[in-house]
């Protein structure tokens, strides 16, 4: 924690290496969060870039005592996602973009096909959840944030996030069963 705080302080003073290190630490996970939330690779790429450029501009406003740095950063990403859906006005009916990159998989071709189908089923089923349930699934499993960090992003108590997480997984299980 101390190491991250020191890194953030250096970044706030414009230290190029510290800024790059923070960027590298969070880049893949921010991209995953956005890609899973919106299901569109091209948009996810643009929005990921915007998140980091926005964070760079407003980094001086970040206060360590306010919230975790990752929560602050994902809050920016969350706002981008909200804006995206507001502009599209299609939150519940966003089609799965077939170009969404599938995880790198190893193994024999038959296994790969089965795995790809299983992954697509999960992604489609996730779209049937509420926005808050999708959010908690993305933050917890795509970005691997802790409950504390997720609570910071979603501005809810840790207890509320734990309950939401439970209901999200149960709803996802039901959605998978009906497919």
């Amino acid at each position: 924690v101390q190491e991250e705080q020191s890194l953030i302080r250096r970044a706030q003073h414009g230290d190029q290496v510290a800024l790059t290190q923070l960027y590298e630490t969070h880049f893949d996970r921010i991209y995953r969060y956005i890609a899973i939330r919106i299901g569109d690779r091209t948009e996810a790429e643009d929005m990921t870039q915007q998140v980091f450029l926005h964070a760079l501009k407003s980094l001086s406003s970040y206060k360590e005592k306010g919230m975790h740095f990752s929560s602050w950063l994902y809050r920016i990403a969350h706002n981008q996602v909200v804006d995206y859906f507001r502009k599209k006005s299609k939150h519940a009916t966003v089609p799965l973009d077939e170009s969404l990159p599938i995880p790198a998989l190893d193994g024999d071709p038959k296994y790969l096909v089965e795995k790809k189908i299983a992954i697509e089923e999960v992604v489609i089923a996730t779209k049937k959840l509420t926005a808050a349930q999708q959010e908690v699934i993305s933050l917890r499993f795509a970005s691997e944030l802790s409950i504390t960090e997720v609570a910071g992003v979603m501005r809810k108590s840790e207890g509320a996030i734990k309950a939401l997480q439970h209901s999200a997984i149960a709803a996802l299980r039901r959605a998978l069963a009906t497919e």
Binding site: L53, P103, I119, F141, A142, L172
Partner: protein
Amino acid sequence: MAKAKEFENILNECLDRLIKGETIESCLKLYPQYAAELEPLLTTALEAKQATLVKPRPEFRQRAANEFQAAIRNLPVKKAASGFRWQVRWVAPVAVIVALLAGGGGTVAAATNALPDSPLYGVKLTTESVQMVLTFSDQAKTELYARFVDYRVEEIVKMAEAGNYEQVEQATERMNVQLLAMAATESNLVGHGEKAAFGLMMQDESATGPSLSAHRATTPSTTPAPATSNMPFVVSSAPPTTENWSVKTTETTETSNTELSEIEQLRLLLTSKYEQNLKILQDQLEKAPEALKPALQKAIEVLEQGYLQAIANLG
């Protein structure tokens, strides 16, 4: 109500364990009384975790990194912080400088060869930061970053020999950061027009697939001296083979053949260091146990991408 909360806490603990790579079975063993309820939820959670492991495309990653570095360079210069904060922030670097000036730099000198699992490793990193702060020209900074990359490669090899996967990954991460910073610094040495051309070339390259592997396949192998922490900045007498590189390797022949421009010297230095370090990591990959190969392959990938960008940035 209390029971529901208790279950949510247990579920959350098991999810934390799953995210860290533990198995469902190991968690069910911890809470056998909840196993029937936990098992289906954890199975679904694992499926969700696997489905969300999407990765950014390499060409997007490269483009985004370039834009981010450009944005960093355009940041307004910060004013100095207040006295007390300044003092706290500079305690460690100043201590290193004082130690060096006082001739009592034994610890600092000893730390030069410290490995990531050594207690002195933090001193080594601080010393590097101080060296960078005290280096002013972009060319000198670029050379210093290249030397730090040599150190990281050496650490990767040593940690791989010790079977320390985690430290190999961490040294790779530090190397990546320093390669990106190096590319950003030395791009200041060339004009904006050339940088724009570089950007276009990188896009063209990404559209036709990675060319570094082709480079590796077609470039005659060299037999470089091993990179050591004390490797001097000597450009190899044998000019590196770059004719197959997709990056711009223009003939800057306006300069006399015997008197290379600073940019050209830097290009030769980086090319030489790239080839030396690539060979070192490839040799290590060949003899490494299977478990360590993914980490070493990642290190090679990072080295290739970083140096390719750095060399291309020189125009």
